[in-house]
């Protein structure tokens, strides 16, 4: 589903990704782990198309298309979802309006009809309920006044409503207490597990992987994948530290 080949990228002229290659087939969940400064967040922003993250070499193919040739909103319409490490606050715009307009923009780009207000509210209510979140939370401005944990849950509600083909989740576990971690882990499994879907979890720690068992674990260091293995690799990293393994 996602094939990254020899990817090089710079931020403000500084090389961050240095020949990263990675393939995530449909139906699988992969985890990327690595020390601070390895390039984990840069990888997620490059995949999302954030301005300022310049690709200087390599290719990324997403469901058979050249991902790097697409604008961020086109990537979303193609089925890519980027879960932010720090979900962004948008004062004055309710989550309801934000998600509905975003979803309908995606649908239009795919040649589908807009969801009506009633259809959307039904969907939002059901998805919020899965997370034990009151739908009234979504009437508040996007992420404004939410705690770190609430923001991450709100990202999961967005993901549930949008039903992407592929999710890149950047440190979705940070800022979560144990209970929230379990809920968010269950949501990732519910939303992203399936033969036509896949996900890439970017994380520092093993603990999210207790709830979302990855098919493959990759170690990112200095902008490249330096080791790959099964779920046991995450445990080894937790035990030995990155310095030993990478």
């Amino acid at each position: 589903m996602l094939e990254i080949n020899n990817l090089h990228a710079t931020v403000a002229g500084k090389p961050i990704l240095n020949g990263l290659s990675l393939t995530v087939p449909a139906g699988e969940v992969h985890a990327i782990m690595g020390p601070n400064g390895a390039g984990k967040s840069t990888l997620s922003y490059v995949l999302g198309g954030r301005p300022g993250y310049e690709v200087t070499g390599g290719t990324v193919t997403f469901i058979g298309e050249d991902l790097l040739a697409q604008e961020p909103h086109e990537r979303a319409a193609a089925g890519l979802f980027l879960g932010f490490q720090y979900p962004v606050e948008i004062p004055g715009v309710s989550s309801m309006q934000f998600i509905r307009e975003s979803l309908n923009a995606q649908r239009r780009a795919r040649g589908q009809a807009d969801l009506s207000g009633a259809e959307f509210i039904r969907l939002a209510r059901a998805e919020a309920a899965e997370l034990g979140m009151d739908v009234d939370m979504l009437k508040r401005p996007v992420n404004v006044g939410f705690s770190g944990g609430e923001k991450k849950r709100a990202e999961m509600v967005q993901m549930g409503i949008m039903r992407p083909r592929f999710a890149v989740l950047d440190e979705t576990d940070s800022g979560l207490d144990i209970d929230a971690l379990r809920v968010v882990g269950a949501e990732i499994n519910r939303i992203m597990r399936g033969p036509d879907r896949a996900a890439l979890l970017i994380t520092h720690y093993q603990r999210l992987l207790d709830y979302v068992q990855p098919d493959r674990v990759h170690v990112l260091a200095a902008g490249r994948i330096v080791r790959s293995g099964g779920p046991e690799l995450a445990l080894e990293l937790e035990r030995e530290g990155y310095a030993e393994v990478a």
Binding site: H73, A76, V88, E89, I90, P91, G92, E101, S102, Q106
Partner: protein, 249 residues
Amino acid sequence: MTALALPTRKDEAYRYADLDALGRVWADLAQAREIVVPAGEAHSHVLLAANEAVEVHRARLVIQPGASLDLFALNGAAEYGRIEMDVEVREGARFTLNAANIAGGKATQEIVTHVRHTEPNGTSNQTVRSVLGGTATGSYLGKVAVARQAQKVDGEQSVKAMLLDRGATANCKPELEIYADDVKCAHGATVGELDPTQLFYAMSRGLPPAEAKALLLEGFVLQLWDDAPEDRRDELVEASRALLRRVAA
């Protein structure tokens, strides 16, 4: 009605005006509208100035003791829009202005207020948001004057402008003239641009750039109308939306 000479740029209240456009309507300009809110009453007014190429609205408002006036004004004229008011706030009275300039192209829009607290215990709150694209100019010139006997007055001005293009100009000039010694007057003014992080977040969710911009701008402006009279709120919201989508495109 005596014909007055067209103002010049030397006149501070016309410093940023489009005098050519003003000159075309000057001779036919109506007298300033007089509105008196009777003692103890609570009134709301909506001024939607977004229909003509040139719109100049002038008002003299008196808010009698214990009364309140909430004014909601949308300045959206395509070429030149000017909303000008002189407000007298009497004892224990309250004046609230929520206003927006939304200008693109070469438009000039300005909101010019002179709020005079002539008696004690009055309150005035002015919130102005400007969204400016192209080479448009948006101004807020707001003077709050507190007379010597007008103790315990609370006057507040919050002015924010958002510039969408390099050629756009915002002028924010909150001004205080205070003669009483026990008053609370605060003002804040900021000029900024759309936050690229918010923009990327919205685009990453599927919104094309122009739609993402328009949505963020709605967040910036539409809160002004939250307390507008219910029968006019939708009209203000829809007119603002249409203007914002035009300047964001």
